[in-house]
Symmetry: C2
Subunit: 447 residues, 2 copies
C-alpha cells in the first residue's frame, strides 16, 4: 500500500508519524494532506530497509531543497559522487537526485541508496539511453525493465517526462534554446524519428503500476521547460503543463504519489504566475521547481540567479526547490559547487518559510540576531547555515582568539560599531530618566 492509499483509508503510517514529528504538525493533518494529493512522502519500501529518514514535500510543510549530483561520461566516479552526496546531506539537502549518465550506473545508484538518509530520485531514461547507441534505439520494453529495476533497487522518486507529446514538439521551433531538458530532448527526438507518441505517455498506466508496487513517487518532468528568459511561459511549456495536470490525476487515481516539476528560466515578474498556474492545473500536487534563474547573463553565478527565483517561487508555494550550482551551463559540479548550491537553496527555502509565516520559522533568525547583538561570536557561527564559512570570514581579518569576545569586528572597529554604540546609549538612557518625557504617548514600543 502506498502512503497515498493508506492516507485515503485513514491509516497513519510510521512515515506519516515521522513527518508529523519533524514538522511539528498533527498526524491527522499530514494524513489529510497526503490524501488530498498536496503532500507526498517519497519512501520506497526498499529504501526504508536501509537508512532513509522520511520527509514530507508539500505546501503544508516546510519548504524543501534538492541537490542534483551524479557523474557524466567525461567526469567523476563513484567515490566523487559519494563525497558530493555527503556534502549535500551535511549542509542540509532534503532530497538528492542521482543524475549519473556515465560509468556503472547501477553500482553508483546502489551505493547512494545504501548511504543516503534522504530520499533519492533518478531519471530512468538516462540509464536507458546509456545502454543504446542512438536515441532512436530506445524502446518501451527496455525502458519498462529499467524503471522496474530501479524501483526494486529502492529509488524514492522518478522523473518521468510523460507530458511531452508529439504535437508539442513543433511548438518549440521558434525558441532561442529549443528543448533544454535532457529527458524532453531525448523523447522529442525519438518521437520525430519514429513518428510515434511518447512511449512514457502511451504506457503511463503501466509505469504507474510499477511505481505503486514499491511506492515510488512520480516527479512529472517538465521536458519542455524554457531554457532562457525569452522562451519562458510559452505555448509549448503550458501545453505540456496541461498534459501534466491530466497525468497527475491519472496517477493519483491509481494510488501513486505525485509531484510536478517546473521551470527553469523565468523573469521575476512571471514566477508567481507560473507557480500558481502549475498548482491549479495539477490539482495542488506539490510543485518542484528548478531555480528558476531570473537572468541568463551570469554563468558562474547561477546558484545566485536561481536562488533569487527559487525564493520567489517558495514564497508563492513551491514545495521543493531544486538547487542550481555555480557550474550550471558550464560543466559538472564538483563538491564545492554542491556546497555553494545547497547553502544558496537553504537560504531560499528558509526565507520562503519565514515569508509564508510558518510557525516557528523565524526562531533561528531571532536567536542568531540575539547572539549578534550580544557579540557572542562563537554562538553566532554555530547558528549559521555554514558555521565554517562564517568563522573563516570573520577570522580572515581578526584571527586572534581574543577577538571572539570583542564588541566589534573589523568592519567598524571598536569606535564605530553601531550595536556597541546602541548599548552604550542604552546605558546612558537608564541614568537619564528625563528623556522619557519627550516620547509621545501611544507610540512607545513595537506591537
Amino acid at each position: 500500500m502506498t502512503q497515498l492509499e493508506a492516507a485515503r483509508k485513514n491509516i497513519i503510517t510510521p512515515e506519516m508519524k515521522r513527518v508529523a514529528e519533524k514538522e511539528k504538525l498533527t498526524q491527522e493533518f499530514v494524513r489529510n494532506e497526503i490524501s488530498a494529493g498536496r503532500l507526498i512522502i517519497p519512501a520506497n519500501i526498499n529504501h526504508l530497509k536501509y537508512r532513509l529518514d522520511p520527509i514530507g514535500i508539500g505546501i503544508g510543510v516546510a519548504c524543501k531543497i534538492n541537490a542534483n549530483i551524479g557523474n557524466s561520461s567525461t567526469t567523476s566516479d563513484v567515490n566523487c559522487e559519494l563525497v558530493k552526496l555527503h556534502m549535500a546531506v551535511h549542509y542540509g539537502s532534503d532530497t538528492v537526485m542521482d543524475l549519473s549518465t556515465g560509468g556503472d550506473l547501477d553500482k553508483i545508484r546502489e551505493a547512494m541508496i545504501r548511504q543516503s538518509t534522504v530520499p533519492l530520485g533518478t531519471v530512468p531514461i538516462y540509464q536507458a539511453l546509456s545502454e543504446v547507441e542512438k536515441v532512436e534505439d530506445l524502446s518501451w520494453k527496455m525502458m519498462r525493465d529499467i524503471i522496474e529495476k530501479q524501483a526494486r533497487q529502492g529509488v524514492d522518486y522518478f522523473t518521468i517526462h510523460a507530458g511531452v507529446l508529439k504535437r508539442h514538439v513543433d511548438l518549440t521551433k521558434n525558441r532561442i534554446t529549443g528543448i533544454v531538458s535532457r529527458g524532453g530532448a531525448i523523447l522529442a527526438q525519438w518521437m520525430l524519428a519514429h513518428n510515434e507518441e511518447n512511449f512514457l505517455y502511451a504506457h503511463f498506466d503501466e509505469i504507474s503500476e510499477i511505481l505503486r508496487a514499491y511506492d515510488v513517487c512520480y516527479s512529472l518532468g517538465d521536458g519542455l521547460r524554457p531554457g532562457c528568459l525569452a522562451d519562458a511561459s510559452d505555448t509549448a511549456q503550458f501545453a505540456e503543463l496541461d498534459t501534466l495536470g491530466e497525468l497527475t490525476a491519472r496517477a493519483q487515481a491509481m494510488g501513486v504519489q505525485v509531484m510536478v516539476e517546473g521551470p527553469g528560466h523565468i523573469p521575476m515578474d512571471q514566477i508567481v504566475m507560473n507557480v500558481e498556474r502549475q498548482q491549479k492545473v495539477c490539482h495542488g500536487a506539490p510543485s518542484y521547481v528548478l531555480g528558476p534563474v531570473v537572468t541568463d547573463i551570469a554563468p558562474g553565478y547561477d546558484h545566485i540567479t536561481s536562488a533569487i527565483g527559487a525564493t520567489v517561487a517558495g514564497t508563492a508555494g513551491a514545495a521543493l526547490l531544486c538547487y542550481v550550482t555555480p557550474a550550471e551551463h558550464l560543466g559538472l559540479p564538483d563538491a564545492e559547487d554542491v556546497r555553494q548550491g545547497v547553502i544558496a537553496y537553504k537560504i531560499a527555502a528558509h526565507a520562503s518559510d519565514v515569508a509564508r509565516h510558518r510557525p516557528g520559522a523565524r526562531e533561528r533568525d531571532d536567536q542568531i540576531s540575539r547572539e549578534r547583538f550580544a557579540f557572542n561570536w562563537e554562538r553566532q557561527f554555530a547558528l549559521a547555515l555554514d558555521p565554517e564559512a562564517a568563522k573563516t570570514k570573520h577570522d580572515s581579518t581578526l584571527p586572534q582568539e581574543g577577538f571572539k569576545d570583542a564588541s566589534f569586528c573589523s568592519m567598524c572597529g571598536p569606535k564605530f560599531c553601531a550595536m556597541k554604540i546602541t548599548k552604550d546609549g542604552r546605558a546612558i538612557k537608564s541614568s537619564s530618566p528625563s528623556l522619557s518625557s519627550v516620547i509621545p504617548e501611544g507610540v512607545i514600543g513595537d506591537p
Copy 2:
C-alpha cells in the same frame, strides 16, 4: 545651479544629455523626471572637473547598484581601497561609497574622487566621530565644517541621518538588535547624552545650503533601519520614514536633489510594501535600499540573502541597490568580497530591469542564450557578467582548447546534451514533413 534647479527652469544640462544618451531616453524625459524629484544625477561640480561620467538614479531609468568600500581602524589602507574601487567599477558598480573610518580620511577620499569615474558618496559623520574622542564630543559646528570640506572636495552624495529624532530613540528599546546604522546609533547616543534634538535635523536647512552650492545630493539615511527580521517594519522605522518624507520635501524646495535610504533586514513578504510605502511617503524620490537580507541565518553568504531581497525591491521600483558582501556581519570586505558583492547586485539590478520590462533590458539575455544554443563558448563567456569566472568554471573540467568548439560540456557529455539533441531532432524533422500533420492548428509557434 543644481540639476534640480536647472530642470525646473527647463534647462537641459550636459549631464542630463549624457544620462539621456546612456539610458536611451529623450533629454526631455530626463529633465522632467529630475524636475519632479523622481530622478537625480549625483554630480558634484568639483567632481565633474575630474573623471566623473554622470549617471541617473530613479525609477524611470535602469536600476543601479552601489558598492561600499573604505577602511576601518583595524584593517586596510589607501592602496587597498583603491584596488577595491577599481574592482567595483570594473565589474560594473554604478556608484561607490567611501565609508572609511580609519587612517587619513581626507587623503583616501581625495584619491578616490580623483580616480573614480562613478559618483562617490560618503557619510560625513564618520569623519566627525573620528576627530573626537567620544560621541558626546560631537558638535554641529565641527559637523558643518566637515560637510563643507567634503562638499568642496567633490563628494557627489552624502548620507545624512537627519531623520532620527529624539522621540524616535525609545521606540527601538524592544528591538532585538537595537540601532544598527552607525550614523543612527551615533546620533541616538549623542541625543541621549545631551538631551537635545539631532543637530542634523535642527540645522537641516543650513546643510541644504551647503549641498546646493556644490550640487551634492542628499542620501537621507535610515538611521533606524531594522538589523534583523524581527525588527522589520516596526514603529521606529516608520516614524523615521515619516520624518524623511518631510525632509525630502524641504530639501527639494531648496533645490537640492534627494534620494532616500531604505532597509536593511526584511522578510520576503514585507519588501514590496516597504518600497511602496517609502515611495509614497517620500513623494517618489529615488529609493536606495541596502539589500534587504531576507534571512539572518546565513553570515558568510549575505551577498546572496540580500541579492534576493534586492531583486524583489528593484522589481518593486527601488532605484539604487546598495550591495552587501559575503563579509557582512563578520568583518571588513576585501577585494574578492567586493567582486562577489558587485556581481550579485548586477544580477539583482538586471533581473529587476527585465521584470520591469525596461526597453531592451532582455537583449543581453537573449544574445547569450543564442550563443549558448550555438555552443559558441567564447562568446558566451564574453557576454557573461564575469567572463573570467565563467571561463574558469568551464575549464576546470574541460580545459583543452578543442572543447571550446564542442557541442557539449562536462555536465552531460556528448551524448546527453539536450541542446545538441534538440538540434539533431530538428535535423530529423526537416527531413520528415509528415509530422506537421499531427500539430493542431492555431497553436503553432509562440506569440
